[in-house]
Amino acid sequence: MTTFETENHDQFLRLYVENETALRGFVRSLVPTREDVEDVMQGTAAVLWRKFEELDSPENFRRWAFGVARFEALSHRRKRSRDRHVFGDELMALLEAEATAAGEQCSQEVLVLESCLKKLPPAQRALLEAAYAPGVRIDEMARESNRTAMSIYKALHRIRMLLIDCVRQTMATEGTE
């Protein structure tokens, strides 16, 4: 790589990493599954890198990246021709605006989330880790643990709500929210 390309590449990585958590969360709000998030994120990163030179100013990266991610998510959903209900343009635009604005606090959120995870009781933590392990299906988990899938979904929802509360409270206490 030339010096210019190296600098360009470093700057791209820095901007991408800064915004990655928020971008990922936004994409998750638009697609049906976590697996879809990976596909959309890959497509998004590829487009962003390909067109990075066209970006007029680094300050505009976040807005641009969220726009690209929305487009990629839509395109992904069309390709997959999901028959599930797709949010309309109006809601997508509102979510994009809000997610873009929330971008800055997301890196901090990850740090706080890690400390909140430690506060979970071991059983809840184990359930969370098992459910989020790569390739795990909740129905299979249910079968193996002699539980109903519904009871696992509900338990996971309760844990997620606990974590959201914990993250919010911690960030409020630390004055970051």
Partner: protein, 526 residues
């Protein structure tokens, strides 16, 4: 109107794929109406998309504080972005994202894997799957603390943090106490660690050498099935066919690379047209042809090149202190080779001809490849097995026959410093069959330059040793030849740059000359 709690349950149901279409429509309506619900919805989605990453990072470095883990995660993310944008690193294509990250690359030295984007860098995640390390050295740290130093070329398959298999090449493994029981398999043996540092080399004929630096291992021959305990300071050889005890071999401190030295300088940058990577590859070349001329008078092989004229001489330069000049002559009985090499660390090679001749390039060596089959002509259509493996193509019976052509020969010439011995390693075909070390009939002399800036090589190789005694090259023949000069660091053990010269310009630079004979240049006999 639903309560906040019930609304969030809808959010949970929607994001876990359980919501009905009607519920999704109602949720959309609520999201449009309620800014706070949108904020909560996005927070829930962020959490759901972050948890898999946070969980992975937690397992990778269990004792690291949260902030460090997050920094580490960011490094991984950065690396993954690089993977996404380059989109074709070996393990990326072959190991999808759901394949668990087993560890991290912690150090590299001139390392590249086979593929269009072969560059490796410290910080990249290591996933389960096959590694085709084409050259160089890479240090991998698995998440349980096991460290692997893999020297290329080599193929390593990682199954889990506790199990791997070496298919070719050599690796040094350091196992901390908490990972005792780590298992490394090879075609001829299986080694289970008992808390130690050990090395395995899978060499020609798939024989496996095991050497224990510290602690002890249990090694079991694939065929014999009898486990044996090996202690520190011992080494054994396991053959595929052997049904009895492994052969005790000499323990050698220098044979395996236990660490990548921190202070080693990077290789020389490549031209921008080739990506300008910061390590040396066998890529730069200027000449497509060499012109061996008939020796009108006898050539005395003594290392003094003053009796060679400049006719047909080529020169290739890495930098001020590293270059190669080469010439060839021939007569009815033999091929003569003269090389003048600039080398800041001349004739320091410590690779033992008796143990690892195929690895002699690592310590500084001259490689010559010759295709002297007049019927096959130039460019020479023959590929080694690695060519087919790396390109995922099948080899036909004709391909395999061409690969074993006995009129193709590949020579390595080096000076083994520990015993001041000039060594020739000769193999045939692209399949490297019929290996000979110091075969009778050849003459070879290395001579150090008086000012210590390099050395000369002079050799006479009878046509009989090159497989063409019945039909030696004649004036007017256009056959195949390629030169490759390797330099090492001060230790005579660590490769430090190489150059290929006499190369077919029509072949892509990315293809290694040892795997495809069509990459070789022309030898125009005069």
């Amino acid at each position: 109107m639903k309560s906040d709690q019930e609304q969030m349950e809808w959010v949970g149901r929607y994001l876990s794929g359980q919501a009905t279409d009607e519920e999704a429509r109602q949720l959309e309506r609520l999201l449009l109406e309620k800014p706070q619900l949108r904020t909560d919805f996005l927070a829930y989605a962020r959490l759901d998309s972050t948890l898999p990453i946070v969980a992975v990072a937690k397992e990778e470095i269990p004792s690291a504080p949260a902030k460090l883990r997050s920094v580490h995660r960011l490094v991984l993310v950065a690396a993954s972005v690089m993977l996404i944008v380059s989109a074709s690193l070996f393990w990326f294509r072959h190991a999808p994202d759901e394949v668990a990250v087993l560890g991290t690359i912690t150090q590299v030295h001139e390392a590249e894997i086979q593929g269009e984007h072969p560059h490796l860098a410290a910080g990249q995640p290591v996933r389960a799957g096959r590694w085709n390390l084409a050259s160089g050295i890479v240090e991998i740290n698995l998440k349980n603390g096991v460290t692997l130093v893999l020297e290329g070329p080599g193929e390593l398959e990682l199954f889990s943090p506790m199990r791997a298999a070496l298919l070719s090449g050599q690796v040094v493994v350091r196992v901390p106490e908490k990972a005792i029981g780590f298992e490394l398999g090879s075609p001829a043996a299986r080694v289970v660690d008992l808390g130690t540092e050990f090395a395995i080399k899978v060499g020609p004929n798939l024989q496996t050498d095991v050497q224990v630096f510290e602690g002890a291992v249990v090694a079991t021959g694939a065929r014999s099935g009898f486990p044996s305990r090996m202690e520190a300071g011992t080494a054994s050889r396991f053959n595929l066919e052997a049904t009895s005890e492994p052969l005790k071999i000499e323990f050698s401190e220098t044979r395996f690379l236990r660490h990548i030295p921190k202070d080693v300088k990077p290789g020389v940058p490549l031209p921008e047209s080739f990506g300008g990577k910061d390590f040396a590859l066998p890529a730069r070349h200027a000449e497509a042809s060499i012109y061996p001329s008939h020796a009108s008078s006898p050539i005395l092989v003594d290392g003094a090149l003053s009796d060679w004229s400049d006719q047909g001489r080529f020169r290739t330069t890495m930098d001020d202190s590293r270059s190669l000049e080469g010439r060839m002559r021939y007569d009815a009985k033999a091929l003569y080779i003269a090389a003048q090499i600039k080398d800041p660390f001349p004739m320091r090679n410590v690779i033992d001809p008796a143990m690892d001749p195929e690895n002699s390039w690592r310590g500084g060596c001259l490689e010559l490849r010759l295709g002297l089959d007049r019927a096959a002509g130039w460019p020479l259509d023959a590929n080694g097995s690695s060519y087919y493996r790396w390109h995922n193509v099948m080899a036909s019976a004709e391909d395999i026959a061409r690969a074993s052509n006995p009129r193709i020969s590949q020579l390595m010439l080096w000076h083994y410093a520990p015993s001041q011995r000039d060594a020739l390693y000769l193999r045939y075909g692209m399949d490297f069959h019929g290996a000979l070390i110091d075969p009778p009939g050849h003459q070879l002399v290395f001579k150090r330059d008086p000012d210590g800036t390099g050395y000369a090589i002079e050799a006479r190789i009878p046509w009989a040793l090159l497989g063409v005694a019945d039909d030696p090259p004649q004036a007017g023949d256009v056959l195949s030849n390629c030169w490759q000069i390797h330099w090492s660091d001060e230790s005579g053990r660590l490769p430090h740059g190489n150059l290929v010269e006499i190369r077919n310009p029509a072949e892509p630079l990315r293809i290694y000359t040892y795997t495809r004979a069509a990459t070789w240049g022309r030898a125009v006999f005069r």
